[in-house]
C-alpha cells in the first residue's frame, strides 16, 4: 500500500545574506492513512521548515530546492501545477494547525467570520462548477444553500472539540478567547475541509500542561474518528509518546532515526536519540545534557551533522552521511555506530 504522504530525500536551502543555509539535507519520511507520525527534534532541526515545504508555503524567492520529491497520494507536490495544488491540496486535502494560537487569528475579525471564510473556499461541499468562475476573490459570492450546510458542519465540529456555546463563540473576537479555546478552534478549522492529512506544528507548546493534555487527547480522538493522518512536530518527547504511532527524529536538517513508538522508547539506536532521552528530567536523578551546540546551517558539519557532539564519532562519520540501516520492522537508523542494545 502506498503511503499517503512520502517525502523522498528532500534537500533544500535558504539563500541568506551570509550564504546558502542548508536547512534540509535528504529527509525521508512516510505517513500512512490514519497514522499519527511524530517529527521530533530540537529547535533549528528543520521540522517546521519541512512542514512548510510539504504545504508549499516557503518563501519562493529565498528557497532553493536541490533535490527530492514530496509525494502526496502519488503526486509530486513540487512539480505539480501550482493552481491545482492551491485548489485541492493546500487547506483542503492537507491542512495545518500552527504553533502559536495567540497570533494565528486576525485580530480585527470575529472568529466566526474567519471560519466561514475558510468554508467559503475550502468546504468539501464546494463544487467544480464554482471553481470555474474567473471572478476575483472579493467578487465571488458564497452560495446561500452551501453556506447553511457549511454553518451546520461548523457548529457540529465545534461541539466535537468541546467548545461551549458555539453560536455565541463565533461572534467573539480572538482576543476574547483563551489560548486553549483558540487552539481548539484551529483544530476545528483544520478538520472542516475533511482533509486526508493534518500537519500540526507544535500545537501544544504554548499551552499549560493541563490544557495540553486535553488538546492532545482531542487531536488523537478526532484523528481516529475522522480517519485523518496527522504529522505532528514537537520537541517534547512526552507529547510524542502520548499520541504518536511512530516517531522520526531530526537533527540539524538530517533525519537520524525512525521507529514505531513502543520500540522507539524501549530501544533507541541513534546516539542523539539516546542522549535526548537521557536529558529528560528524572525524579531525584540528574539529567545529562549534550555538550556543544546546534550547528549553524550556513556551514554545517560534513557527513553526519551530529558528529562534533557525538562520543562515538569516527573519521567515517565526518566524511559521508550514514546510509539507512534497517533495524527491524519499521525501525531504521542512519548511523555508523548505533546502539545495538538488547531488546
Amino acid at each position: 500500500m502506498t503511503a499517503l504522504l512520502a517525502v523522498e530525500d528532500l534537500a533544500l536551502g535558504f539563500a541568506t545574506d551570509a550564504g546558502l543555509a542548508q536547512v534540509l539535507d535528504g529527509i525521508t519520511l512516510a505517513v500512512e492513512r490514519g497514522q499519527v507520525l511524530g517529527l521530533v527534534g530540537e529547535s533549528g532541526c528543520g521540522k517546521t521548515t519541512l512542514a512548510r515545504a510539504i504545504l508549499g508555503v516557503l518563501p519562493a524567492h529565498a528557497t532553493r530546492i536541490s533535490g527530492g520529491r514530496i509525494l502526496f497520494k502519488g503526486q509530486d507536490l513540487l512539480t505539480a501545477d501550482p493552481e491545482t495544488v492551491n485548489r485541492e491540496v493546500r487547506g483542503r486535502a492537507i491542512t495545518f494547525i500552527p504553533q502559536d494560537p495567540f497570533t494565528s487569528f486576525n485580530p480585527v475579525f470575529t472568529v466566526g467570520a474567519q471560519i466561514m471564510e475558510v468554508m467559503k473556499w475550502k468546504s468539501p461541499r464546494r463544487t467544480e462548477a464554482e471553481w470555474g468562475g474567473k471572478l476575483p476573490p472579493l467578487a465571488t459570492r458564497y452560495p446561500a444553500g452551501r453556506r447553511q450546510s457549511d454553518f451546520n458542519a461548523v457548529i457540529e465540529l465545534l461541539d466535537a472539540v468541546q467548545l461551549p456555546q458555539p453560536r455565541q463563540l463565533l461572534r467573539k473576537y480572538p482576543h476574547e478567547l483563551s489560548g486553549g479555546q483558540r487552539q481548539r478552534l484551529m483544530i476545528a478549522m483544520a478538520l472542516l475541509p475533511q482533509p486526508d492529512l493534518v500537519i500540526a506544528d507544535e500545537p501544544t507548546t504554548a499551552l499549560d500542561v493541563t490544557i495540553q493534555a486535553q488538546i492532545l487527547g482531542l487531536i488523537r480522538r478526532l484523528a481516529t474518528e475522522h480517519n485523518v493522518a496527522v504529522l505532528l512536530t514537537t520537541h517534547d518527547l512526552g507529547t510524542a509518546y502520548e499520541i504518536c504511532d511512530a516517531i522520526n527524529v531530526m537533527y540539524a536538517g538530517q533525519d537520524v532515526e525512525s521507529a514505531q513508538v513502543e520500540r522507539f522508547f524501549a530501544a533507541p539506536a541513534h546516539p542523539y536519540t539516546t542522549k535526548l532521552l537521557a536529558s529528560l528530567p528524572r525524579a531525584a536523578g540528574t539529567a545529562s545534557g549534550i555538550p556543544g551546540e546546534v550547528p549553524l546551517l550556513i556551514a554545517p558539519p560534513s557527513g553526519c551533522r551530529f558528529h562534533p557532539r557525538c562520543d562515538r564519532a569516527a573519521a567515517q562519520c565526518r566524511e559521508t552521511r550514514p546510509p539507512v540501516d534497517q533495524f527491524g520492522a519499521g525501525h531504521w537508523v542512519r548511523c555508523y555506530h548505533p546502539h545495538r542494545d538488547v531488546e
Binding site: 483563551s178 486535553q214 492532545l216 509518546y241 542522549k275 528530567p281 539529567a287 551546540e293
Partner: protein
C-alpha cells in the same frame, strides 16, 4: 532549628482592571494571601500554570512590584514596604533571574561593562578588585575572559544566559529567585542549564526560589514545592510527598497531565475539564471549585485556608 532566610506572610498584590474612562472595573488578585518560609540552602519550587501568580509573587518579593499588603522578612528586616533607598541595600543579597537572563543585558553595553554595573552601584570596590571578582565569576559560569570585550549579540543565546547569571552573582547574593529558567529551552540544553544552577549553588552557597510550570524539572531540582492556583498556594510540602501523595485535587490533576514515558497514556483518560476561570471574576469560596470533581456546598461558601498536616500543608475542604 535554623531560622528561615526569607519569610513571606500574607502577601497580597492585586492589579486593578480599568475600563473606559479609567473606571475601576475589578481587580485581579494576582497574589492573594501567600505565606511561606524559605530555608537556607534549599531549592524551593513554586509551580503552577499561567496566571497562577508565581511570577508576580517572585517579582513582588523582589520589589519590582510593591505589595498591597503583607510582610516579607529577609535578614531580620521587613522589606515589603521599603522606600527606594533602603530597598537598594537589600538588593545585594536578594537577586532575581529572568526567564532569559541574556535579555537583562543592555544590547549597547559591552559584556564587561554590564558585569561591572552591579558592583559599581552597590559596592565601594576599586576597579581592579572588581575586575578580579568578575574574572572569578566568569570562570565559575564557564565563560572565557575574552567575552568581556564582546557585545551581547555577538555571543550565542546560551552564553548570554550565563552572562546574565554571572551578573547576578557578582554581588554574591544569598537568595536568587529563578523565574522560569528552563522555559522554552530544548531538553538537552535544559539539562546543561540545570546542572549549571546546581554547581553555582554549591560554589556560592545560594538558596533558590525556583519558579516553573514544568513539574518534571521541579521534581528533579527542588527539595520543597508549593503549588499555586489563581493567586493562592493550594498545597505545599516536601517534593516527594507532593509528587507521590498529592492531596489537593488541583495538584492531582497537574500530576495526572504529565506524560509518563513508558507508562500508560495520560491524555486518553485525562479528567480535568474546562479552563481556569477569568482571574478578574473569581468564583466565591474555593477558586478551584468550578473544575473540581469533589466540589460541595461548603466549597462555594468558604475559601479553604492552608492548613498544616503531617507532611506539608493543603488548602482544601476535602483533601485526599
Amino acid at each position: 532549628m535554623t531560622p528561615p532566610i526569607l519569610s513571606v506572610r500574607n502577601l497580597r498584590r492585586h492589579f486593578t482592571v480599568r475600563g473606559p474612562f479609567n473606571r475601576r472595573m475589578g481587580s485581579i488578585k494576582a497574589v492573594d494571601d501567600v505565606s511561606f518560609d524559605l530555608m537556607p540552602g534549599e531549592i524551593f519550587g513554586l509551580v503552577g500554570e499561567s496566571g497562577c501568580g508565581k511570577s508576580t509573587l517572585g517579582k513582588t518579593i523582589m520589589g519590582i512590584h510593591r505589595p498591597d499588603a503583607g510582610e516579607i522578612w529577609f535578614g531580620g528586616q521587613q522589606i515589603a514596604h521599603l522606600p527606594p533607598v533602603g530597598a537598594r541595600a537589600v538588593r545585594r543579597n536578594l537577586q532575581y533571574a529572568y526567564q532569559d537572563p541574556g535579555a537583562s543585558l543592555d544590547p549597547r553595553w559591552k559584556i564587561g561593562r554590564s558585569l561591572h554595573e552591579p558592583l559599581a552601584i552597590h559596592s565601594a570596590l576599586a576597579p581592579t578588585e572588581r575586575e578580579a571578582r568578575i574574572r572569578d565569576i566568569l570562570k565559575a559560569v564557564g565563560l572565557p575572559e575574552t567575552h568581556l570585550d564582546l557585545y551581547p549579540h555577538e555571543i550565542s543565546g546560551g552564553q548570554q544566559r550565563r552572562v546574565g547569571l554571572a551578573r547576578i552573582l557578582t554581588l554574591h547574593p544569598k537568595v536568587v529567585i529563578l523565574d522560569e529558567p528552563t522555559s522554552g529551552l530544548d531538553v538537552s540544553v535544559q539539562a546543561t542549564v540545570l546542572s549549571l544552577f546546581r554547581g553555582l549553588r554549591k560554589t556560592f552557597q545560594l538558596t533558590y526560589v525556583f519558579i516553573s510550570h514544568d513539574l518534571a524539572v521541579v521534581r528533579m531540582m527542588c527539595s520543597r514545592v508549593a503549588v499555586m492556583y489563581l493567586g493562592r498556594i493550594v498545597e505545599m510540602g516536601p517534593t516527594d510527598a507532593i509528587f507521590d501523595r498529592p492531596r489537593h485535587p488541583y495538584t492531582r490533576s497537574l500530576l495526572a497531565a504529565i506524560p509518563k514515558i513508558g507508562g500508560a497514556r495520560v491524555t486518553r483518560d485525562f479528567w480535568l475539564q474546562g479552563e481556569p476561570p477569568d482571574p478578574g471574576n473569581l468564583p466565591s469560596g474555593c477558586r478551584f471549585r468550578t473544575r473540581c470533581p469533589k466540589a460541595a456546598d461548603v466549597c462555594a461558601h468558604q475559601e479553604p485556608a492552608l492548613s498544616t498536616a503531617e507532611h506539608g500543608s493543603v488548602a482544601c475542604h476535602f483533601p485526599e
